[in-house]
Amino acid sequence: MPTLDMLHPDSRCRVTQVLGEHAVSQRLMEMGLIEGSTVEVVRFAPLGDPMEVSLHGYSLSLRKSEASLVEVEQCG
C-alpha cells in the first residue's frame, strides 16, 4: 500500500488508513488526515523534505517521516 510521502506533486489520493500508535497519528487525524479524506500533494520543500499537502480546503506542511504513516490509494 503506498503512503503519502511516496506520491508526486500534483497527484491526488484518498486516505485509507493512518498507521502508528499514539501522539503523531492522533495529531494527523485531528488535522483531517482520516480514512476517506481526499488529499492533494502540492509540493516538496527545496531540500526534499518536508512536503505540502492540501486537504479540507487548507494547506498542511508535514515531514515525510510523518506522511509515511498515512496509507493512501491514488485517485488520479
Partner: protein, 727 residues
C-alpha cells in the same frame, strides 16, 4: 439563584492562524497584560472590555487544534477552559474563533468544546474572505443545529463585533440549557468513558475537584497523553489499571484516537453538507501563485535568504543610529550629573552604576523593536510558516525544526531579540534548545572585541592580490566557530537533555494576508515592556553590583599618593596621564582587581595574566566592557573610541614581570575564542530567565558556555604555541 458578578471571565480559543489575536486586540484595544504560565513557556494574555454594566475579562488562550493535550504547553489552554488554570475558575463563557474559509478542520475543536457544556459562542472570522472565495455558510442554520450562537465577523475590519458582544451578553445573562446536535461517539467508546469517569468521581475527594466527562474522555483516548499522566501522578497505579481495563473493552482493530477522530469528522461532514456551500476550487489562488514562487526550489530559497539578509541588515543598521543616540544621551546625562556632584562614591554610583545600568538596558530596545516589528509582519502575513517549511530539513538533524531559523539568525545581531523571537516556536523542546544555543551565535557586541585583538595581534598577511587577508579569515572563523559549536551542542542535547521523539512538524501554511497594524503595535508594546520591566530589572541590578565590586574599597591612600604626584607637575598631558594611572590604581585595588590576582592561577592556563583576568571577569555583565576595562587597567583611560589606537600600542608593550611580552598571537587567539563562546551578557541571561521562567535553564546556558569557552581558550593557546605562533 446565581449572584450577579461584577466581572465575567471569557476565554478566547481557536486554531492557530484564525485571527484570534486580531479579535483579542479588537475587543480589548491595546491595553492588556502579558504573563507566563508557571512552569511553561507559553505566554498568557488577559485584557478587559466593558459590556453594558459588566466588566469582562478576556483570556487569550494559545492556539490549539484539539483538546488532546500532548505537552505541558498544550495542557495550559485546556486547563484554562476546565478551570484548572491561572484563574482557577472555569470561564463564564467561551468564544471559539473559527476561520470561515477553512471550516471543516476548525469544527473539530468545536465538537470537543460543545462537550464541555459551557456557554459557547462561535465567531466565524474572515467571513468576508470566505464570501469572496464563493464559500456560503448558513450561519443561522448552523446555530440552530448546534444550539449555540454563530456570529459572522471580520475581526481585522471590526465587523460583527457588536453582534458578537450582544450574543455574549445574552448568553451570560441567561444561560440556556443546551440542546444542540453533538458529535455522536460510538457506544463502546461512551461506555468506556463512563467507566473512567466513575473511577475519577470516586477519587474526587483525593483530587479536590470533580473531573468532568471531557477529562475522562481525554484520559481514555490520549494514550500516554498529559491527562493520563496527570491523573496517574495524582491517583497512582490503581487508576492506571482502571484506564487500561476500560481500553480493553474498546474494539481492538482501531486505536481509540482513530475512533474519536472518525466520529468527529463524520459529524463535521454532515454539518458541512447541510450548511456550507463551497466551490470546487481549493484555496485562494493568490496564495497558490505566491507559493509557486516563494517555496520554489530556487526562487523560494533565494527569497528566504534575501528576507533574512534584509532583517539582519535592519537590526544592524536601523538600530545602530538609535543605539548611538541612546548611548550619547546617557553619556551627556552622566557628565551633567558629574558637573553637579562632588567626586565620591555617590557620584560614581549615579554615573557609572545607575546611569550606566539603565543605559545598558535601554540600549537594547532598538534592536528588539526592529526585530519584533519584522517578525510580527512575517508572521501576520503568513510568510513565517513558509520560512520554516524551507529551512526545516537543515535543522531537523540537530533536533530542531524550521521554526528555529529566524530566531537563530537574528541572534547574529543580538541574542536578546533572537531569544524573544523563539516565541513563534510551539514545541517546548525545540524552543528551549534554540534558546540554549542562541547566545553562541556571534552577536554584534563581540565585533569590537574581535577587531581590537585581531587588529592588534594577528599579522596583516594578504593573499590573492589583497582580497583575502589573514585578519579577515580569523574574524570569519570567530563567527563560524559559534555555529559549529552550536551544532555540536545541539547534537549533545538531542541525545541527553532533550531525548525522545522529535516533535511532529504538522504546520498549517495559512493563506497570505495583509498584516494588521494593531497586531504589530500590540506586539511591539508587549515585547518592549517585557524586556524593560522583567529583564531590565535584573540587568540593572547586576550593573550596580559590578560597579560596586570595581569601585570599593577605593582606598584614600591612592588618592593621597596621586595628589602628591600632581602637586609637582603642571603640564596638562602629564596630569591627564596621572589621572588615568589613578583610575587604574583604584581598579587594581578594588574587589574585582583583587579577584583578578586570585584567579590568575586559573586563567594562566590560557596564557592570561591577572590584568587580562580582571578585564575578562568585569566583562561578564556585558562583553563589550572589556575594552573600557583594559583601557583603565593599562592606564590608557576608558574612552574606548579615542583610545583604541593608544590601547593597541599599550597592549603590544605590556609584559610579564620577567619582561616577556604579555600579548602574543596565541594569547590574542585564546581571547578571541573565549569571547566567541562565553556567555558574557547579563541581558541575554535575564531574557532567558524571563522566557523560560526558570533559573535552571539560565544557569545551564551560563555554565555550559563559560566552561566551553574556558577550555577552548586553553586548547587554542597551547595549540597555537605548539604550532610555533610565538610565546
Amino acid at each position: 439563584m446565581r449572584l450577579a458578578k461584577a466581572e465575567t471571565t471569557v476565554a478566547l480559543v481557536g486554531n492557530p492562524n484564525t485571527g484570534k489575536t486580531t479579535l483579542f486586540n479588537a475587543l480589548t484595544g491595546l491595553s492588556h497584560r502579558v504573563g507566563n504560565y508557571p512552569g511553561v513557556t507559553v505566554e498568557h494574555k488577559q485584557g478587559r472590555f466593558e459590556l453594558g454594566q459588566r466588566g469582562v475579562r478576556v483570556i487569550d488562550l494559545p492556539g490549539t487544534y484539539s483538546l488532546a493535550a500532548r505537552s505541558k504547553d498544550e495542557l495550559v489552554a485546556v486547563d484554562a477552559l476546565l478551570g484548572h488554570g491561572v484563574a482557577d475558575v472555569a470561564p463564564d463563557a467561551i468564544i471559539a474563533i473559527l476561520d470561515a474559509t477553512n471550516l471543516p478542520r476548525n469544527l473539530y475543536l468545536v465538537s470537543q468544546l460543545l462537550e464541555l457544556d459551557r456557554p459557547l459562542i462561535l465567531a466565524l472570522n474572515m467571513s468576508d474572505l470566505a464570501r469572496a472565495q464563493g464559500i456560503e455558510i448558513d450561519h443561522v442554520g448552523l446555530s440552530r443545529a448546534l444550539g449555540v450562537p454563530v456570529v459572522p465577523i471580520a475581526a481585522d475590519r471590526n465587523e460583527g463585533l457588536e453582534a458578537l458582544q450582544d450574543a455574549l451578553e445574552r448568553i451570560i445573562s441567561e444561560p440556556a440549557p443546551r440542546t444542540g446536535n453533538r458529535a455522536e461517539l460510538p457506544a463502546p467508546l461512551n461506555a468506556a468513558t463512563d467507566e473512567v469517569q466513575r473511577v475519577l468521581e470516586q477519587a474526587g475527594g483525593k483530587l479536590g475537584w470533580t473531573p468532568c466527562r471531557a477529562e475522562a474522555l481525554r484520559c481514555l483516548v490520549d494514550v500516554d497523553g498529559e491527562f493520563e499522566a496527570r491523573f496517574r501522578a495524582l491517583l497512582g497505579e490503581e487508576f492506571q489499571q482502571a484506564v487500561a481495563a476500560a481500553r480493553t473493552k474498546l474494539p481492538a482493530d482501531r486505536t481509540p484516537a482513530s475512533v474519536e477522530a472518525h466520529a468527529r469528522y463524520s459529524w463535521i461532514d454532515d454539518l458541512v453538507r447541510r450548511f456550507v456551500a463551497r466551490p470546487e476550487q481549493g484555496r485562494a489562488s493568490l496564495t497558490r501563485r505566491l507559493d509557486a514562487l516563494l517555496t520554489h526550489r530556487l526562487w523560494g530559497s533565494a527569497t528566504l535568504l534575501l528576507i533574512l539578509a534584509g532583517v539582519f541588515q535592519a537590526i544592524y543598521s536601523w538600530s545602530a543610529p538609535l543605539m548611538t543616540a541612546i548611548e550619547m544621551a546617557f553619556a551627556r546625562l552622566g557628565s551633567g550629573v558629574e558637573a553637579l556632584l562632588p567626586a565620591g562614591p555617590l557620584r560614581s554610583l549615579l554615573v557609572d552604576g545607575v546611569l550606566g545600568g539603565v543605559g545598558g538596558v535601554v540600549v537594547f530596545l532598538p534592536q528588539i523593536l526592529v526585530l519584533v516589528f519584522f517578525i510580527t509582519l512575517l508572521e501576520d502575513c503568513g510568510y513565517m510558516a513558509r520560512a520554516a517549511f524551507l529551512a526545516d530539513r537543515l535543522l531537523v538533524r540537530l533536533g530542531l525544526s524550521g521554526k528555529s531559523v529566524i530566531p537563530l539568525l537574528s541572534s547574529f545581531a543580538c541574542a536578546v531579540p533572537g531569544i524573544m523571537a523563539t516565541r513563534t516556536i510551539d514545541s517546548r523542546k525545540d524552543r528551549l534548545a534554540t534558546i540554549l544555543v542562541a547566545p553562541l551565535m556571534s552577536c554584534s557586541a563581540r565585533l569590537p572585541v574581535y577587531v581590537l585583538f585581531i587588529g592588534a595581534f594577528v599579522p596583516d598577511k594578504r593573499w590573492m592580490g589583497g582580497w583575502i587577508g589573514l585578519q579577515g579569515l580569523v574574524l570569519f572563523g570567530a563567527h563560524l566557530i559559534g555555529v559549529v559549536v552550536a551544532a555540536g551542542v545541539l547534537l549533545v542535547f538531542k541525545h541527553t537533555l532533550f531525548r525522545g521523539p522529535t516533535a511532529p512538524f504538522l504546520m498549517e501554511l495559512p493563506p497570505y494576508r495583509l498584516p494588521h497594524w494593531r497586531n504589530v503595535v500590540s506586539r511591539l508594546i508587549d515585547q518592549g515592556r517585557a524586556f524593560l520591566v522583567r529583564a531590565g530589572s535584573v540587568i540593572f541590578a547586576v550593573a550596580v553590583v559590578i560597579w560596586g565590586l570595581s569601585y570599593f574599597p577605593h582606598p584614600a591612600s591612592i588618592h593621597e599618593h596621586y595628589e602628591q604626584a600632581r602637586a609637582s607637575v603642571t603640564a596638562p598631558e602629564v596630569l591627564a596621564q596621572l589621572d588615568r594611572e589613578e583610575a587604574g590604581a583604584y581598579l587594581r585595588a578594588s574587589v574585582l582587581g583583587r579577584a583578578g590576582h586570585l584567579i590568575e592561577p586559573v586563567v594562566r592556563h590560557a596564557g592570561w595574566d591577572w590584568r587580562i583576568g580582571i578585564a575578562v571577569t568585569s566583562s561578564f555583565a556585558a562583553r563589550e566592557v572589556v575594552i573600557a576595562t583594559m583601557g583603565t587597567i593599562f592606564n590608557v583611560g576608558d574612552d574606548a573610541t579615542a583610545g583604541e589606537g593608544a590601547l593597541r600600542e599599550v597592549l603590544a608593550r605590556a609584559t610579564w614581570p620577567d619582561g616577556r611580552p604579555l600579548f602574543t598571537l596565541p594569547v590574542a587567539l585564546s581571547l578571541v575564542i573565549f569571547f566567541a563562546l562565553c556567555c558574557q551578557c547579563v541581558a541575554t541571561l535575564a531574557v532567558i530567565r524571563r522566557e523560560t521562567g526558570s533559573w535552571g535553564w539560565t544557569g545551564l546556558t551560563f555554565s555550559y558556555m563559560t566552561t566551553l569557552a574556558y577550555f577552548a581558550a586553553i586548547v587554542v593557546y597551547h595549540g597555537a604555541r605548539w604550532l610555533g605562533m610565538g610565546g
